[in-house]
């Protein structure tokens, strides 16, 4: 098997810049930051939601509630997944999500199946006033009719390739790499 080729496509500065633009777009769409809950999809979406929350607080002076969703138990690929994935924590604000503005945050939007699972899971917790989707990277290739409201960067990915978002809390660095299948 040829070695996969890894190529950086966003450094820390580029990611910070994209998150800044995303934060402004989220607040503009939400209308009122005080009404907003940023819900990150486990694992890296959780860290990105935390960063967006900090940026919104800095720029708009309003604290933003955050939460996390682990969608493992809502996946639709039970029969093809082998070793069971570790299930992470789902935590939503104590006041619930009814009638609130929810922004689901994830690192990469690809097939859309993770987002579908996240929407299903959210529906079991309540009925938000509106739900937005913010992703750092949109790489196309959707298998479901799902689109993001806020996108940090759109990336063309060659066949067989993948996008890897790295965050300091998990990967020790902030950036985005494109990993292409070996030639």
């Amino acid at each position: 098997m040829p070695e996969p080729q890894r190529r950086p496509i966003m450094d820390a500065q580029a990611v910070e810049g994209a998150l800044g633009r995303m934060a402004d777009d989220v607040v503009r769409l939400a209308g009122d930051a005080r009404d907003l809950v940023l819900v990150g999809i486990h694992r890296r979406g959780v860290q990105l939601a935390g960063r967006l929350s900090d940026i919104i607080e800095d720029r708009h002076g309003a604290g933003v509630a955050t939460g996390s969703l682990d969608i493992t138990l809502y996946r639709d690929d039970l029969m093809v997944v082998g070793p069971r994935p570790v299930v992470g924590q789902t935590r939503l604000p104590a006041g619930g999500i009814d009638d609130r503005m929810i922004c689901v945050v994830d690192d990469v939007l690809y097939t859309g199946r993770t987002v579908r699972a996240a929407l299903d899971e959210l529906a079991d917790f309540g009925r938000p006033k509106r739900t937005l989707l913010a992703v750092l990277i949109d790489r196309g290739g959707r298998e479901l009719p799902i689109q993001a409201d806020v996108v940090g960067e759109r990336v063309e990915v060659p066949e067989g390739g993948r996008v890897e978002v790295m965050v300091p809390e998990i990967d020790g660095t902030l950036g985005v790499d494109l990993v292409e299948a070996g030639a």
Binding site: R43, R44, D70, T72, L73, Y74, R75, D77, L78, M79, V80, V81, G82, P83, R84, P85, V86, V87, G88, Q89, T90, R91, G96, D106, D107, V108, L109, Y110, T111, R113, T114, D120, E121, D124, F125, G126, R139, R162, V163, E164, V165
Partner: protein, 319 residues
């Protein structure tokens, strides 16, 4: 993005804790820890096992364990069917394997079995393709009870390494005791048993535990007491002189608990004989975590269903 995977996972079945590694036991406990939250949700249900069928085959009486498994199965989204010996073909002489094979022919995915014979769960697991979960087989093991005990102790005392746990009472007839001993030792706890010699299994020495024949000495030594039910239905065989005398010599009483040199944690797998092996003011007192054991039981069983389910080993995950 690829997800972090549980490794090593459980195989097809869960028969006993004796055959599990420390890593496997820890994986179940860690998964159960995250599953506790599901029972706190507005909708206490996830769709993970939607379309899967679990048969609860209880060939021996049980309410607590059966209900706990049923809650766990329903909260994981599975369809469930319960059968018992009474009114089933077992009464007409059908063998265990024939019963299971007939159920399997109706396209089931898992069987939770309780049976009076030690080894029944393994016997079944070796003969059917569905996953088999042992919900108590004779005097052998009751692994999910052992796991929920471990989880409850871990919740209150942190890692079990070096912790001193004494299992008190009718160890001879107890599958809970065996699962506890294997699980606790695998996680590094020191284990003792306490009770009259007549209620100790002949191979107790081979299990690598120490034995106390005085409850005061056990309490002096232990951080945790797991008090077992005195199986009154078996007491006619003359294992103890009288219930009153048992309580006087081995009963976990308030005075004894208060005299303990350290803050004791008290477990009991239920159902309790109040005033025999445990007094009411201990069972309902500040040291008791008996009801939390019941709550943890559902989370542990959900974790086991989760870790046993699924298809062939390929790495999943998408974005």
């Amino acid at each position: 993005m690829a997800q972090e995977l549980v490794n090593p996972v459980l195989g097809k079945d869960l028969i006993g804790l004796e055959e599990l590694t420390r890593e496997q036991i820890t994986a179940i406990l860690d998964t159960a820890e995250t599953f506790k939250e599901i029972s706190e949700r507005p909708v206490r249900k996830v769709p993970y096992l939607r379309g899967r069928t679990v048969v609860n085959a209880f060939f021996e009486n049980s309410t607590r364990t059966r209900v706990s498994f049923e809650f766990a199965e329903k909260r994981m989204g599975a369809d469930t069917v319960s059968i018992s010996t009474t009114g089933s073909s077992v009464q007409k002489g059908e063998t265990l394997v024939d019963t299971a094979r007939n159920l399997e022919a109706m396209r089931i995915d898992m069987v939770v079995i309780r049976h009076a014979s030690s080894g029944a769960a393994r016997f079944l697991a070796e003969r059917i393709e569905s996953s088999v979960i042992n919900a108590g087989d004779g005097k052998h093991e009751h692994p999910t009870q052992g796991l929920l005990d471990l989880l409850t102790i871990r919740d209150h005392r942190g890692p079990l390494e070096g912790l001193k746990v004494c299992i008190c009472g009718d160890v001879l007839h107890s599958r809970v005791a065996r699962s506890n001993i294997h699980g606790l030792k695998r996680l590094g706890a020191e284990v003792a048993v306490c009770g009259p010699m007549t209620l100790m299994p002949p191979d107790v020495g081979d299990l690598g535990v120490r034995w106390f024949n005085r409850i005061e000495a056990a309490i002096e030594w232990a951080d945790v007491l797991n008090v077992l039910r005195l199986q009154l239905e078996r007491m006619k065989a003359g294992f103890i002189p009288s219930l009153r005398e048992y309580n006087r010599v081995f009963g976990v009483t308030r005075a004894r608990v208060e005299a303990a040199p350290r803050d004791l944690l008290i477990l009991h797998p239920g159902p309790m004989n109040r005033g025999v092996e445990i007094d009411s003011d201990v069972a309902d007192g500040p040291h008791s975590v008996i009801l939390q054991q019941v709550t943890n039981g559902v989370a542990v069983r959900m974790a086991v269903l989760y870790l046993l389910s699924g298809g062939p080993a390929t790495e999943g995950g998408d974005a």
